[in-house]
Symmetry: C2
DNA sequence: ACAAGCATGTAAAGAGTTACATGATTAA
DNA sequence: TTAATCATGTAACTCTTTACATGCTTGT
């Protein structure tokens, strides 16, 4: 259950409201663990119910600011150190490649060319993100940059692969 | 809904039973779109209900062999050509990197070192898979190889990245 | 005779998506 | 005043996981 831990992780940096967290998911976490508004608010309520986070302030428009509790921090550390990461990754994009044989070679090449463009676009978006973020703070700054670098390398790799694969069809 | 299309895709190669498809998911598709036994049997029943596949033979032990219908093939082609692939990918592994700041530098380095090993292991597994598969047939042979090559490149990339990131902590 | 593997199915719970629903505050 | 943004919550549905449940066939 990674969403729970993503929220705990973000709150380990600083207290935040559901809305703040939603914005963080839309930017930094979107490429790693997307979540919807509905999901975030529901999970925050559960998390507060089990005492892993707590409401520390209320603002205008019913804004509720949550902060990590000691139990929440313990759970975050437990997740990071005592549980193995899931290796399973689903990729709709790659699943499609498996079945390109039902299309004409031209169509298959077209799909792979699309993946080249898509990867270029993703790289560009990540570079834009890199410039737009203010990297003032400590932890998320260092490790957030690492994840961004991963995204760039990943997309570069996929681009090269898709190019290679498209050329292979000829 | 990619599971549906993964099943249609596999059946486009040749007729198969739920059990056959389960084995295919455990090997070739495991790294791209994992699915459980329960999910596969349930989806096959639904797919047969809507006429995208049909039972073409029955064997011992209640074995039911399914084959793609014309409507099924049309749906598969429609999915491949008329719908955009989902760019969203969830990675528990990378999510954790975001929050390594709550651990000590030694622990963080340890996690990244683990990712190096994990990527090496995955590469080795893929190479084993490559050797174990009999690449006799047409479509899945060509495109299956492509996906395998992607897996190798992906793990090599991740290995290099994790090594770089671990070194960065010092 | 027995184990391994073949073969299917369902129930319950958890996770994720889409849509609906509401209302306050701020800046132009 | 009005549009944009801030802000939260719930309902319904779909997808995924885990567990339960059953029984046949083949090879040793």
């Amino acid at each position: 259950m990674s969403l729970r831990h993503a929220l705990l992780g973000l709150l380990s940096e600083r207290p935040a409201s559901g809305y703040d967290l939603l914005k963080l998911f839309e930017t930094s976490l979107a490429n790693v663990w997307p979540a919807t508004q509905s999901q975030i608010y529901t999970e925050l309520t559960k998390l507060a119910g089990t005492g892993l986070i707590a409401v520390t302030a209320e603002g205008p428009r019913g804004r509720k600011e949550y902060a990590l509790t000691d139990e929440g921090m313990a759970e975050l550390r437990h997740w990071l150190t005592e549980t193995r990461p899931q290796r399973a990754v689903r990729s709709d994009m790659m699943l499609r490649v498996f079945f390109l044989g039902v299309l004409s070679p031209e169509q298959a090449r077209g799909y792979l060319a699309e993946l080249v463009d898509l990867s270029d676009q993703a790289c560009e978006d990540l570079r834009g993100l890199m410039d737009s973020i203010d990297w003032e703070d400590g932890n998320l700054s260092v490790y957030g940059r690492m994840v961004l670098e991963y995204g760039l390398r990943f997309n570069a790799m996929r681009r090269e692969w898709a190019q290679w694969a498209a050329d292979l069809i000829d």
